[in-house]
């Protein structure tokens, strides 16, 4: 990787994308907290992070869609920019996990294609594990009503303006969770798995749980996957952005 002169990426010789999980007590940290934690962790690891120019140089990191505070995740992503290409991306999980707070685990990383689209723009949907306190029948009947509804009007506020949209198209999938999705979660709660669109406007888990008058209380949330739709298939962000497409986890929706 020579000639790192291209303008938006000046000083960047290598890009990498990493997947990590965030489980346990650290779920109470915010998206901003995680950004600071990553900056410190990369410095501690001695990795050649590229810095922005100017008076207050900032490490060039790019995060994906913010995870709500109090949510856990098995699928968080961050893109790193390095100033040299002398970086062993395959060793990231082993190198970084011991430097991260307990509960944050680096899982896998890939070298990113130069033309990879940013996480914020590329991710098209997210799969959530949502745990609620309720009678099982109440949950089942709500799922049925949502899935079968031709349209679901939801009024939301953004930038001080109220808008009403049909959010049904944003609900790609909604069902009771499979055992393997919630094996380590609180089994006194009922687990729902929902795949929700993040584009053109994201449907948030709390918004989903407010439609069609559900009779239950939301307790815990966890992100299970993030997806990038590509030619009718869904790729996870590592496969979608990697220089070669290794062991691409293709998943028909």
């Amino acid at each position: 990787m020579s000639g790192a002169a291209a303008n938006p990426n000046s000083g960047v010789a290598l890009k990498a994308r990493l997947r990590y999980s965030k489980l346990g007590k650290v779920r109470f940290t915010s998206h901003r907290d995680m950004a600071r934690i990553w900056e410190r962790t990369l410095r501690r690891a001695g990795l050649p992070v590229a810095y922005s120019q100017g008076y207050s140089p900032r490490a060039k990191l790019a995060f994906g869609l913010a995870l709500p505070t109090t949510f856990e995740s098995r699928a968080e992503y961050v893109d790193f920019n390095f100033s040299t290409d002398d970086v062993d991306v395959t060793g990231f999980a082993e190198l970084l996990t011991p430097l991260l707070p307990v509960g944050v685990t680096a899982i896998d990383a890939v070298v990113l294609r130069g033309d990879a689209v940013s996480l914020q723009q590329a991710v098209t949907s997210t799969t959530w594990l949502l745990q609620v306190e309720a009678a099982p029948e109440a949950v089942l009947s709500w799922i049925e009503r949502v899935v079968e509804a031709p349209a679901i009007e939801l009024t939301r506020e953004r930038k001080g303006k109220e808008t009403t949209d049909d959010v049904r198209p944003a609900i790609h999938a909604l069902r009771l969770s499979e055992p393997e999705e919630c094996s380590d979660a609180d089994d006194s709660l009922i687990s729902i798995t929902a795949e929700l669109a993040t584009q053109p406007r994201a449907l948030r888990p709390n918004e989903l749980l407010s439609v069609l008058a559900p009779e239950f209380t939301f307790r815990r949330g966890r992100r299970l996957h993030q997806w990038i739709a590509s030619d009718g298939a869904q790729l996870d962000p590592l496969s979608a952005g990697a220089t070669q497409t290794p062991r691409a986890e293709l998943c028909a929706s």
Partner: protein, 649 residues
């Protein structure tokens, strides 16, 4: 109690402040042979976590096999309500252990406005707030920090205080409490009596105050084996205490989110309003080599990209220039983009030069503390900054790219006239004029605080300005500043200054006021959205105590102070003389570089200033009245470091 706590955290603001999990956190082993300490900061996590004193003791205690220390911070009002609703107590953030299970709950007390929070934390720990109502099954309540120098207002609530440096005292306390614990915690009075014999420990219950009407006449020990006077503790050589070794790195934002390295303790500038400078004498510098290694190891371990070199006046550190230079030039792992900050800038061009060397980031604002608006006033308070010093500093800063200055001032100082008050505006205007030579956007923010007299300072005799008078001065100054382009003014609520004054020099009777305010719901009083002056005034009246007498009254020479049975090493007659000198507008030089004037701090404890250089750092007049623009040899004898290796001169 994590399982019970966790569901509550889903419902509160900023829950990350309750989870612990910091890098540097310890998970101590609690066992029957160890005294358990809950080190508690009685304010929010964001403010309390960076506190270095608490972190130092946390490490020292956890290095002992017979101690286990965890940390707690005051929960914000939303979590407090949740805890109380389900009957859960205050808890440690390390292992989420309930506070009532600890042997000792020890508080860091650094501001008078957190006093009601101390009561609230004790109550949340499910311990009776009044010492006399506790039994052996309750934790002992300890306290330390600068507010320990007038422990009387909290004397009914705190079982024991530590005066001065805690590094050595905590271990001695641990031994006493462990002996009591191993004996099955017989009666509480016995352990308090033993604690009162530990040097530097003050047990209020072992002392009886006597009054004659409003006047305090004496505070004397209840038993013959309890010392008449409690002397503060002083660590002779900072080199022996390179703590914290593993500074805590929080997962969430805190007020000072950076590595801190304490470069020296104590200050002999002799500013007469400054309690910290009086009670922490003598000056004890950390060897430059140790400072360098603490920076290097700290940066590598924490991943921080900012280091603060802390002390009461860091530009006075003998090796400041080389330490800063070495740090900035250090290209070893992790040191590449580290910036250094000096939280306490001295007012002179030399200091600005250092600041310019080390500030790699944007040069947005610099802060100086001239403290008073006229040379006359600065002589009274012994902050001997000449106008040239300030203007040179400001010129140097603007010329090197800074665009905003913040200037700190006190109002309500002894002998202050309206001319002195208006002098603040004059200084600020002149600074703006200097700045406009370099940038059209030059601006100066004047930050004004009301002065509260503190124990063990020459101003302990001074009758504080009334709330009305402070307000009048603020308005006078504000009206004058309004006319000035580029000068902005901010001020501290005078009502808060008065409440500080009640607690600062109050006697044990003020305890009833503090309890009254707390019972009326007065918590987080240092937070403007919670501060409630009326509650304090009501509480004074309800308890038949006279606000005027406690705060606004000038004290007499031989008046018995509520802290006369304590000692910070300073002779009372030295302080009185300094008070007389102050009124005569006579300055006093810095004794690091001039002959000793026997304040008592060194001679009383058989320790000495530990400084690496006989030459005061270059810059300004250094309080000597001489031009020391390039550093200046002053004929003094320097004493060697007390023992072992390190710097000697």
């Amino acid at each position: 109690m994590w399982a019970q706590l966790e569901p509550l955290l889903d419902r509160v603001q900023k829950p990350a402040r309750y989870i612990g999990c910091e890098d540097g956190m310890q998970i101590p082993e609690h066992h029957a042979g160890a005294v358990s300490w809950l080190l508690t900061y009685p304010d929010t996590y964001e403010i309390g976590l960076p506190n270095q004193g608490l972190q130092i003791l946390y490490e020292i205690l956890n290095e002992r096999p017979d101690a286990a220390a965890e940390r707690a911070y005051a929960p914000w009002t939303d979590l407090e309500a949740e805890l109380r609703a389900v009957g859960l107590p205050l808890f440690s953030v390390d292992t989420h252990r309930p506070a009532p299970g600890f042997d000792i709950i020890a508080f860091n007390m650094s501001s008078e406005l957190v006093y009601t929070n101390l009561l609230n934390c004790i109550d949340l720990a499910q311990v009776p707030v009044r010492s006399e109502d506790r039994s052996s099954e309750h934790p002992l309540i300890g306290a330390g920090g600068h507010c320990a120098y007038n422990p009387e207002p909290l004397g009914d609530f705190v079982d024991f205080y530590v005066l001065g440096d805690g590094e050595e005292a905590v271990s001695e306390i641990n031994v006493v409490v462990n002996t009591w614990k191993q004996a099955g915690k017989p009666d509480r009075e016995s352990v308090l009596r033993e604690l009162s014999k530990v040097e530097g420990v003050y047990v209020p219950a072992m002392y009886v105050p006597e009054y004659d009407g409003k006047r305090l006449t004496s505070i004397t020990p209840k038993y013959s084996d309890v010392p008449d006077t409690v002397e503060k503790r002083t660590v002779a050589d900072l080199a022996e205490w390179p703590y914290p070794r593993n500074q805590l790195v929080p997962l969430t934002e805190v007020v000072h989110d950076r590595l801190s390295v304490e470069v020296f303790r104590g200050c002999t500038r002799g500013c007469r309003f400054c309690q910290a400078g009086m009670i922490t004498r003598p000056v004890r510098e950390r060897p430059a080599e140790q400072v360098r290694s603490m920076i290097q190891e700290g940066v590598r371990r924490t991943g921080y990209d900012e280091v603060a070199l802390t002390s009461l006046s860091t530009a006075d550190f003998s090796d400041i220039a080389t330490v800063v230079g070495d740090t900035m030039d250090d290209e070893t792992a992790g040191m590449g983009n580290v910036s250094v900050s000096l939280p306490s800038l001295r007012v002179d061009a030399f200091t600005v030069g250092i600041a310019a060397d080390l500030q790699r980031g944007r040069r947005s604002g610099l802060t100086f503390a001239p403290e008073a608006g006229t040379w006359r006033m600065r002589q009274v308070i012994n902050k001997l900054i000449r106008e040239e010093d300030l203007y040179n500093a400001v010129e140097s800063a603007f010329s090197q790219g800074w665009r905003r200055m913040k200037l700190y001032f006190l109002i309500g100082l002894p002998t202050e006239t309206d001319e002195d008050t208006l002098g603040i505006a004059e200084l600020a205007r002149n600074c703006v004029a200097i700045g406009r030579k370099y940038t059209g956007s030059a601006s100066v923010t004047v930050s004004v605080g009301g002065f509260t007299p503190k124990p063990f300072t020459p101003f302990q005799w001074f009758g504080q300005n009334t709330e009305v008078e402070l307000n009048r001065k603020i308005h006078l100054l504000r009206d004058d500043v309004r006319k000035s382009k580029g000068v902005e003014m901010k001020w501290h609520d005078p009502k808060a200054t008065i409440v500080e004054g009640i607690n600062s020099r109050g006697d044990r009777r003020i305890g009833r006021v503090i309890q009254h305010v707390w019972e009326a719901g007065g918590k987080f009083q240092e937070w403007s959205e919670h501060f409630d002056y009326e509650k304090w005034i009501d509480a004074m009246e309800a308890n038949g105590l006279d606000l005027e007498w406690y705060t606004y009254r000038h004290r007499e020479e031989n008046e018995v102070f509520p802290w006369d049975h304590l000692s910070a090493g300073l002779h009372k007659d030295f302080l009185w003389q300094d008070w007389r000198d102050s009124l005569a507008e006579v300055g006093l030089e810095d004794c690091r570089w001039t002959p000793c004037y026997d304040c008592g701090a060194c001679t009383g404890y058989g320790i000495e200033h530990v400084v690496a250089s006989a030459v005061p750092p270059a810059g300004g007049s250094q309080g000597t009245g001489q031009d020391l623009a390039s550093g200046h040899e002053i004929p003094v004898t320097l004493l060697t470091r007390p023992q072992k290796s390190g710097v000697s001169a």
